[in-house]
């Protein structure tokens, strides 16, 4: 079965969506990612959508859901690389993806995740 690969990089998971997803594939990714978060004890997920030429309400909701599920599993999600035309369309469609952290590219997304993680470490150290 067709699947979008989920890569592990230390504490983080990396997903690059490079195909025009049909709905089932999007739901499969949601399943695979939440399972991978649990299995790897991942602290962050970075989703690169720079190759996506369209985000409709279904894919938008899938991205929101992944972020919410990750949060409940103590894992931060950052969405990176959205094309400007996609962002314009998404907002006009009525979806502004509230609650999803975003960054312009993979590099900034990674430093955002690392920042979140080190804030948590500081917090833990202070509590001890």
């Amino acid at each position: 079965m067709e699947r979008i690969p989920v890569l592990r990089m230390g504490n983080f998971l990396l997903v690059t969506i490079q195909v025009d997803m049909h709905d089932q594939l999007a739901l499969q990714l949601q399943d695979d990612l939440t399972n991978a978060i649990e299995r790897n004890g991942a602290k962050g997920v970075l989703i690169d959508i720079s190759a996506l030429e369209m985000v409709d309400s279904f894919i938008g909701r899938m991205l929101s859901d992944i972020s919410a599920m990750g949060r409940i599993l103590d894992c931060a999600t950052v969405l990176v690389g959205m094309q400007p035309a996609v962002a314009i369309t998404l907002v006009e469609l009525g979806l502004s993806l509230p609650g999803i952290a975003t960054a312009l590219n993979v590099e900034r997304g990674m430093s955002l995740l690392r920042g979140k993680l080190s804030n948590l470490d500081d917090h833990d150290a202070n509590e001890r």
Binding site: D20, E53, M54, S57, G94, L95
Partner: protein, 142 residues
């Protein structure tokens, strides 16, 4: 290289695509993308009509039990446009006004399909009655 018969070298100005499976939604999106590119729509306009098509194709499949997307290249003076009509023979929409409002859904969606698609195009028409299927036409001009 093969020589195509002349009938194939003239670009068709209308056609139809089935909406019977999730994969058909993907194919419909790709077809609309190619047509909007051939009309030299800007990238933002391409993305808008592709996204609107995706919403309406999914509606026809999920709520209408499948249907078709009819497409037509429009020409009005020097203006070019693309018209898409999504038809299904599903249960129809009893209250159109309600269905057109943001956030209303009869299923499990976000309720942005119809109202959102309308915001992404220049022309929008909907015809639906309970028990008589649904027909949504959209057009976007260059």
């Amino acid at each position: 290289m093969e020589n195509f018969p002349t009938s194939m070298t003239t670009t068709p100005t209308s056609g139809e695509a089935p909406l019977r499976s999730e994969h058909d939604i993907v194919l419909a999106r790709q077809l609309v993308r190619r047509m909007s590119q051939s009309l030299e729509f800007s990238l933002v306009d391409q993305t808008k009509i592709v996204t609107a098509a995706s919403e309406l194709a999914r509606n026809a499949l999920i709520y209408g039990g499948g249907g078709t997307m009819h497409w037509e290249l429009l020409k009005e003076g020097t203006r070019n446009g693309l018209k898409l009509t999504f038809s299904d023979e599903g249960p129809g929409i009893p209250d159109l006004e309600l269905a057109m409002s943001d956030g209303w859904t009869s299923g499990t969606g976000l309720g942005l399909g119809l109202s959102g698609a309308r915001r992404l195009v220049n022309q929008f028409e909907i015809d639906s009655r309970a028990g008589a299927g649904t027909r949504v036409s959209i057009a976007r001009w260059k």
